[in-house]
């Protein structure tokens, strides 16, 4: 019996030395990103199977290490992944909206709205001094400033959109790298010996999955062989050791062609178009396929209305040479709108007068200046565009703030479940130390008992 006790005390010593190793591993990784606290799972050794059935009292006893497990809350992990993916989608969206807003720069005294008012004011000045050249030159300048601002806003939006496309490409490239990393880890785990401890590899894979989810809104499904499958939107991206390459393409789309753009798509392999993804990629694609084109088309609408209303009024007028007015603006998009070259070359061709009313009449210029009050005019269009943009930016911003806060809280719960608490480790350390000491004491007690048995027994009458 005593000898068996000795061996079970030895298992105690070994088990607690292992626990000590794990505690030191935990403490060392207290601040490692994605590390999950590891635990030595101890099981009481209740003797051999034959011992149980034979009813023999002989039992080895002691403790066995049944495994080293990771402490993590699987449900919380899932929630944290999807919450963080939505948060990063919204954050990308907000950033893009902010960029669009800063390109327009309203409300300000140097934006498009101010330039339009300057244009109307210049028309009024020409109406006040119809036969004076300086006012006409000033009008041409005001009109050019306005068309330049429209053009600058248009090219700024297009550059921003191009940045979104490039971001989509970079995101997809990172996603591919992460997917490969996950597949490689899957392969190592699947092919490795079942007994091998893969906890640290699994942690690494969790980190990769989280990054991939932030980028693409990926979902993850655990499999029995220890690997994970990763899905993005309508497609599988990682299956065991296999990955499916993502790529970015541009496709013609009827709704985007009016602003001269193509739809940005993410493809899986060569033929499947990825839909309903999430994360940064979804935010970038929405920006590139919806936010930027709609801002561009609103701006084009403003330019087209400006050109058509001013041109219509201007054509009804008469210039200083008693010729009927031509178009004042050429082009009908924000990028192409410009003051008619004839007018730039010779401002006397501005038709400020009503037909036949003489060179000192300014009524046509005054009619054009009155367009500022038109409820369907370019100013109103631009104003409602700016206000709508502000509204949608602020609503995305609020949603993003709420989602980020939620994601942060869920992530804290996730971290609370999985990461290392030093206090806990210290207490465990003390307990382990104590148990180790106690096991050692058991060994020495049994040793004394054996000493008694071997050396003190049978010495009666010696």
């Amino acid at each position: 019996m005593s000898v068996e006790g000795l061996s079970s005390a030895v298992t105690g010593l070994l088990a607690h030395r292992r626990r000590l190793d794990v505690i030191s591993h935990n403490v060392a990784n207290a601040n490692t990103e994605g590390y999950s606290r590891q635990r030595v799972d101890l099981t009481a050794a209740s003797g051999s199977a034959t011992g149980i059935w034979s009813g023999s009292s002989s039992s080895l006893g002691g403790v066995t290490i049944s495994g080293i497990s990771r402490s993590r809350d699987a449900f919380m992990e899932m929630r944290a992944i999807s919450a963080s993916a939505s948060a990063s989608e919204l954050r990308t969206s907000v950033d893009f909206h902010f960029d669009v807003e800063s390109i327009l720069g309203e409300p300000s005294d140097s934006g498009i709205a101010a330039a339009m008012d300057d244009l109307w004011a210049s028309f009024d000045d020409v109406a006040n001094f119809p036969d004076q050249l300086p006012q006409r030159v000033a009008l041409v300048n005001s009109a050019r400033i306005l068309t330049e601002r429209l053009g600058a806003a248009d090219s700024g939006l297009r550059q921003l959109r191009q940045t979104a496309v490039e971001t989509a490409e970079a995101t997809v490239a990172s996603a591919n790298v992460l997917a490969n990393e996950i597949a490689t880890i899957n392969k190592t785990i699947m092919t490795g010996a079942a007994s091998t401890n893969h906890n640290d590899l699994r942690d690494q894979r969790d980190v990769a999955v989280r990054h991939l989810a932030d980028l693409t809104g990926a979902r993850v499904v655990d499999r029995d062989d220890g690997s994970v499958d990763v899905y993005v939107g309508n497609s599988s991206v990682v299956q065991g050791a296999l990955t499916f390459e993502l790529s970015v393409t541009e496709t013609a789309d009827a709704s985007l062609s009016p602003v001269g753009l193509q739809r940005v798509d993410v493809m899986v392999g060569d033929s499947v178009r990825l839909t309903s993804m999430g994360g940064e990629l979804a935010g970038v694609l929405t920006s590139a396929n919806s936010t930027a084109p709609s801002a561009l088309s609103s701006l084009d609408g403003v330019a087209a209305t400006l050109a058509s209303t001013v041109n219509a009024a201007h054509r009804a007028g008469e210039d200083l040479n008693a010729d009927p007015g031509s178009d004042f603006f050429t082009g009908s998009t924000a990028a192409t709108i410009a003051v008619h070259t004839d007018i730039v070359d010779d401002p006397s061709t501005i038709a400020a007068a009503a037909a036949g009313a003489g060179t000192r009449d300014g009524s046509t210029a005054m009619t054009i200046a009155d367009l500022r009050n038109s409820s369907t005019g370019a100013d109103s269009l631009y104003e409602s565009f700016s206000v709508m943009l502000g509204m949608s930016t602020s609503s995305v911003e609020r949603r993003s703030a709420a989602q980020s806060a939620t994601a942060a809280k869920i992530d804290e719960s996730r971290l609370a479940a999985r990461s290392v608490s030093l206090d806990e480790e210290m207490v465990d350390l003390v307990a382990t130390q104590r148990a180790y000491e106690a096991s050692a004491r058991v060994v020495s007690a049994i040793d004394q008992m054996l000493d008694t048995l071997v050396n003190r027994l049978g010495t009666v009458g010696r």
Binding site: A30, P107, T393, A416
Partner: protein
């Protein structure tokens, strides 16, 4: 609930970070004096500010137009005053010529002076505002009234926008001031024609008083032109006042919508600072304590 070191530090970083960003927002608000720097900061207020900014820019232009209108009316006022004075002088001269005590030489001198007055009147009628003869309508001629009274201008209105809906007429048709040119019967024509007719009558020994009735009619129309100018000047003053009042109201509204209430902002900043200091204090204490202090 289990707390780990990472969850604890992450939460602290998040709460302290959010307080810091609130302090930064307060600071920017105070520094810029406005709490709406982009449309999304407060879309409703920004939409109002957008409208108010446009309205203020429109008011700027309307008050410029109004200044120009004022110049026009003042010029017309001076011109009609001069014309009225000269006509009174001409009338006196005509009465003097017909008094019966003067011989032909003085009567010829008076005739000469009447022609001079005709030239002065036509000069006054040809007065321009930046090259635009104010009694010539919208015609391109630079001097609508010739010395003999021929009128080459037109009667079109010259208007100035002074509000979103009101256009104020700033000119008076040449005919309304000088009378209508009458080629067939100069004695029934405009001021210059009548003065010339009177002068030639005097030269040929005829009485000038036959023209006095027509002179009275013409002077009446100058008077009524002056009345019109006066009432328009009052309208201009009214519009000027209205624009000034509207500007004050719009500026107040805009300020109400977007400007920072410094007192409130400072109080909020102070409150945020207090919670910021408290939370870094707490963080410092919590992070410093550990079970290791108590285990031997």
């Amino acid at each position: 609930m289990r707390i780990s070191n990472q969850s604890q530090t992450s939460q602290m970083k998040r709460t302290i970070g959010s307080l810091q960003s609130r302090i930064a927002t307060h600071q920017t608000n105070i520094a810029t004096g406005t709490r709406v720097r982009s449309m999304s900061d407060d879309p409703a207020a920004a939409a109002q500010a957008f409208k108010f900014n446009r309205q203020l820019r429109h008011l700027d232009q309307y008050s410029r137009n109004l200044d120009d209108a004022k110049t026009w009316l003042n010029l017309a006022d001076q011109a009609t005053q001069t014309i009225n004075d000269r006509m009174t002088r001409a009338r006196n001269l005509m009465l003097q010529a017909d008094s019966g005590v003067l011989g032909q030489d003085p009567r010829s001198a008076i005739a000469e002076e009447l022609r001079g007055i005709a030239a002065e009147v036509s000069d006054a009628l040809n007065i321009t505002r930046a090259g635009h003869p104010i009694f010539g309508g919208t015609s391109s001629t630079d001097a609508p009234f010739a010395a003999n009274g021929t009128f080459s201008g037109n009667g079109n209105a010259v208007l100035r926008s002074v509000s979103d809906t009101v256009r104020l007429q700033v000119n008076i048709a040449g005919d309304d001031v000088a009378g209508t040119f009458n080629a067939a019967d100069p004695a029934d024509g405009n001021i210059m024609q009548v003065l010339y007719a009177a002068a030639s009558d005097l030269d040929s020994g005829l009485p000038a008083s036959t023209h006095l009735d027509r002179m009275d009619v013409l002077q009446q129309s100058v008077h009524s032109a002056q009345a019109t100018i006066g009432s328009r000047q009052r309208a201009v003053d009214g519009h000027e006042e209205r624009i000034a009042d509207t500007r004050v109201t719009v500026e107040a509204n805009r300020s109400e919508a977007v400007d920072v209430d410094i007192t409130r902002e400072l109080l909020d900043l102070k409150a945020t600072e207090v919670s910021y200091q408290a939370s870094i204090g707490v963080a410092g204490r919590v992070l410093n304590s550990s079970v290791m202090d108590f285990l031997r």
